[in-house]
């Protein structure tokens, strides 16, 4: 594996008695789109500021291409930031904002002019050089902020919840554009967000943070399909989380019944949590169902119906269906063995990864048998 461009070794940050980051390790490879995903106060922005150099780590090492950069001031780091509130200088126009970094470094006027034009074309604001910042819409300011950061040819671009102030449609468009820009330039993007949908749509790799720790990292598909614990399962997407018992490998008991599944590597009769995604559940006739549920409530969501139901064991279920259901009706609930995801209580990320690796091969065998 190539040397990571950014590496954290046991990095911690605390203010007086308030610990905001507990001993974080992470590796960032060059040329990928990373996302730090977590609720507010989970430490994701702290990680970003440590990389940018606006904060100093209390302990631990931050490495950039193998060199320790803990004591390097922000202006000497080869990273640039797109700020949440954009932080465009209101006393300068668009050209001067984008040119700021280059004029500080004393580049040639003609070079600056060409680069600014190139950057504004990249963010689709060609010809906006003479506009004042106050004349721009939120979406346009956002683009200027991206152009200003990219004009310095950073190795890594840090984005601190840059889309949170935009409306839904504009946010969607910007997600595609950011991904497009990242692929075109081939540089590393580290994106901070609390919006799981945004993270899943844009990233090559996601770090999920909670309470000052990285609780899980992986590809969007890994994290969605195999959340490590209750927090991740609940935070990423909708989920039904039930407590259950792992009878033996590939056999789990929950909601008063036993089900065949594809997970293993746990002690016999170990208490676990069971995750079932609402979109993996199908409403069928009572006879075909693995469980019988009574429909409580449904709401129309445009592209699907969200149905709430309860089973005979009084567990509540969220189900996504394309067809409406009838409130009060008893229906069968069907799901496949591979739709059941098992989470051990308090499993570390290393153990989790090792177990996943071991049972990934056997998972395929089970699927062939069934």
């Amino acid at each position: 594996m190539a040397q990571p461009i950014i590496e954290f070794k046991n990095v911690a940050k605390q203010y007086d008695d308030n610990i905001v980051l507990k001993s974080v390790d992470l590796e960032i490879e060059a040329g990928k789109f990373y996302t730090l995903l977590g609720p507010s106060g989970s430490g994701k922005t702290t990680i970003l500021r440590l990389i940018a150099g606006f904060l100093e780590a209390t302990s631990g090492d931050i490495l950039f291409e193998g060199q320790r950069i803990n004591d390097l001031p922000p202006e000497k780091r080869r990273v640039n930031t797109v700020f949440q509130n954009y932080a465009l200088f209101p006393n300068m126009n668009v050209f001067d904002n984008v040119a700021f970094g280059m004029s500080i470094k004393g580049k040639k006027k003609s070079d600056i002019k060409a680069k600014v034009a190139e950057m504004l074309t990249l963010v689709k604001l060609k010809g906006y050089e003479d506009r004042e910042i106050s004349e721009l819409s939120g979406g346009q300011q956002q683009r200027v902020a991206i152009a200003r950061a990219l004009a310095n040819d950073p190795e890594v671009l840090l984005l601190d919840e840059p889309l949170s102030a935009l409306d839904y449609k504009l946010r969607k468009d910007m997600q595609y554009e950011l991904r497009e820009i990242q692929k075109r330039l081939g540089i590393t993007f580290i994106f901070v967000t609390h919006d799981q949908e945004e993270a899943l749509a844009m990233s090559d790799w996601i770090f999920v943070t909670n309470e000052g720790e990285i609780v899980q990292n992986g590809t969007p598909v890994d994290i969605y399909d195999a959340p490590i614990n209750h927090f991740v399962a609940d935070f990423i997407g909708e989920s039904n989380i039930l407590s259950g018992v792992m009878r033996q490998d590939y056999l789990v008991s929950f909601a008063g019944k036993e089900f065949e599944n594809v997970d293993g590597g746990m002690r016999p009769n170990e208490p676990v949590e069971v995750v079932l995604r609402p979109e993996d559940l199908d409403l069928v006739s009572v006879d075909d169902g693995k469980l019988v549920v009574t429909i409580d409530y449904q709401s129309f969501r445009g592209d699907y119906y969200e149905i709430t139901a309860h089973d005979d064991d009084q567990n509540y279920w969220k189900i996504q269906a394309t067809n409406p259901a009838v409130t009060g009706e008893r229906r069968g609930l069907f799901f496949d063995p591979e739709d059941i995801h098992i989470m051990r209580l308090d499993e570390s990320e290393e153990d989790f990864d090792a177990r996943m690796e071991e049972y990934e091969d056997s998972e395929e065998d089970v699927q062939h048998e069934s």
């Binding site: 940018a52 150099g53 606006f54 001031p73 922000p74 202006e75 990273v79 640039n80 930031t81 700020f83 949440q84 509130n85 932080a87 465009l88 200088f89 209101p90 006393n91 126009n93 050209f95 001067d96 040119a99 700021f100 970094g101 500080i104 470094k105 006027k109 002019k113 050089e129 003479d130 004042e132 200003r148 950061a149 310095n152």
Partner: protein
């Protein structure tokens, strides 16, 4: 009904404005066109613009106000900047504001105690073997005391504009490669210009018409327009001439406000 009520609430303010702002200014202007016996004349203005004494006095006033404003700005900006960065910023600001609650004359007398032949400063100078010196009634002592009195009025608006400055602008400048000095000169200073202008207005205009300190500390060596007005109204009883100088001062204030107003920049500036 409702409109009537709103109108009745505004009456006190209009009354105040009319009686204490507009009427006095009108009276001042009328007065300035009257001679000693109260007849209409343009002589006051003619005298003002043709007399070397008045023009020198005007020049003195503007010159000293300019220097005092410059000194206060030089001291106040770094001070406000450092204060805004300190942990208990509001407490330090309170310490700066405190002296403004003390009467101006008391402060002037305190300086007489410090600067007189047998005062604290001269005692100290004698002790280290370089004194005593004549400190009172010099231009220097006038500048020191005037600057001392005006400093809080310069610090307050600058401090406020610095405190309100979003820290992410500073982070952004550093992030884009600016050193702390470049960040100060290219981002922080231009963005706190509003506070600097407000400070200049708050210092320059009152300093133009300072008169008590010119007499007590400056020993009337520095004669400003303020002193001239006092003389005309209280000593020579030439109200017409005093009013004329008053009008000139009002015009000077208007001019200062105009020069330091908030200008909305327009048009292309790049490729300069």
């Amino acid at each position: 009904m409702n409109r009537n009520r709103t109108f009745s609430y505004t009456i006190p303010y209009y009354l105040w404005l009319g009686l204490f702002v507009i009427a006095p200014v009108i009276l001042l202007v009328i007065q300035s066109f009257g001679n000693l016996s109260g007849h209409f004349t343009l002589n006051n203005y003619a005298t003002y613009f043709s007399s070397g004494t008045y023009l020198r006095m005007t020049f003195n006033s503007v010159f000293f106000a300019f220097i005092v404003t410059g000194i206060t700005l030089l001291i106040s900006y770094p001070m406000a900047y450092i204060m805004s960065r300190l942990k208990h910023a509001q407490f330090w600001l309170l310490l700066v504001i405190l002296p403004t609650w003390v009467n101006l004359l008391l402060k002037a007398y305190a300086f007489i105690g410090l600067f007189s032949k047998t005062g604290t400063v001269n005692n100290f100078l004698t002790l280290i073997g370089v004194g005593p010196h004549q400190l009172m009634f010099t231009n220097l002592s006038f500048l020191i005391v005037a600057a001392y009195i005006e400093i809080p009025f310069m610090i307050m608006p600058i401090f406020n504009s610095l405190i309100e400055l979003d820290k992410s602008y500073i982070n952004a400048a550093r992030d884009l490669g600016a050193t702390s000095w470049q960040t100060l000169t290219k981002v922080i200073f231009p963005m706190s210009m509003g506070g600097v202008k407000a400070g200049i207005q708050a210092v320059f205009i009152p300093t133009l018409s300072l008169f008590m300190i010119t007499r007590l500390i400056g020993g009337n060596r520095v004669i400003t327009l303020g002193t001239a007005i006092e003389e005309h109204f209280l000593v020579t009883q030439n109200w017409g001439m005093g009013s004329t100088i008053g009008v000139i001062l009002i015009v000077a204030m208007g001019l200062t406000m105009f020069l330091t107003r908030d200008r909305k920049k327009k048009g292309a500036r790049h490729g300069k």
